[in-house]
Symmetry: C2
Subunit: 149 residues, 2 copies
DNA sequence: TATCTACGGAAAATCATTATCCAGAAAGTG
DNA sequence: CACTTTCTGGATAATGATTTTCCGTAGATA
């Protein structure tokens, strides 16, 4: 993960370059996103923003997230049952590892993704633009707590 | 894809074996699912069921889909923005290829999935249970119609 | 200062999916 | 054959994350 402060400045610069205003709410959200180790949900971000700016509404969080999404600075992980999650540090398609117990989301550093993508393209004639690769399982911590010995 | 009639009989036998009743609505839905080449949405299935049984409600379609899902006979592809899609012919995790133009969903026959899964497990210590591998792109047909010459 | 646009906030709307409720059909029981 | 119990379908309402709408205001521009 990039340094949170550096990433924050990147995001800030990106908004400024596109002539979007840097309001206190947006700045607070940019800081949160830049420093989020995991993959926060909109609700989770809202809770934290709301603690700083009690008048902030969820709509503002969603609006800013969608803005950053359109700028390509945030990757949205959409789930049909659970809340969506957001990644503002690696806004490009990459695999995710999701713990079905604690719902933590990780980013494994795998090397075979390009090979698989190429294989798919070659086999089907598709022009592959993007991907969404999610693995579901049990993280080491949860495996441990499942087997106390 | 398995033969639709064979697959239908499998599904029918599965419900019967679990002591679920084979109502006309369920039978019609099983036939549809077994013969669906693509990956229909609940709304799409409902349209077709409703044409045969005008009193059928969407709830019945959802209930039956969820029943088959719990029996492991249908794979649900959840989308946070679009409707969910269902695959009753290959109810195990497998990669999908989604055309961003026409929304068609295909099943590429790739060989590197197991390698990638293994790599993820080895690298992270996760016990990998399942996966969801979606590639987004433009199918050959839509590429053609984009470039008329 | 005047004007124009972007923004935030509250509230209402959206919409696929799920839950609830009830009536009827099927299955089981004796 | 009653009687009971369970399952099912259908209409309807509810759900809940996300989006839209509307309006007052802050900020930029000149």
């Amino acid at each position: 993960m990039p340094d949170p402060e550096t990433r924050f400045q990147q995001l800030e610069a990106r908004l400024k370059a596109s002539s979007f205003r840097l309001t206190p709410q947006r700045i607070a959200l940019l800081r949160l996103i830049a420093s989020s180790e995991g993959h926060p949900s909109a609700a989770h971000l809202y809770e934290q923003i709301h603690a700083q700016f009690p008048t902030t509404s969820p709509a503002t969080v969603y609006k800013t997230l969608n803005l950053l999404k359109e700028l390509g600075e945030v990757l949205e992980l959409g789930f049909s049952h659970d809340d969506n999650r957001y990644d503002g540090n690696r806004p490009y398609p990459h695999p995710h590892l999701i713990c079905v117990r604690c719902r933590k989301i990780m980013d494994p550093q795998v090397s075979l993704v390009n090979d698989l993508t190429q294989e798919v393209a070659d086999l089907t004639g598709f022009e592959v633009i993007s991907h969404r690769l999610d693995f579901y399982g049990v993280c080491p911590e949860c495996r441990q707590s499942d087997h106390p010995q």
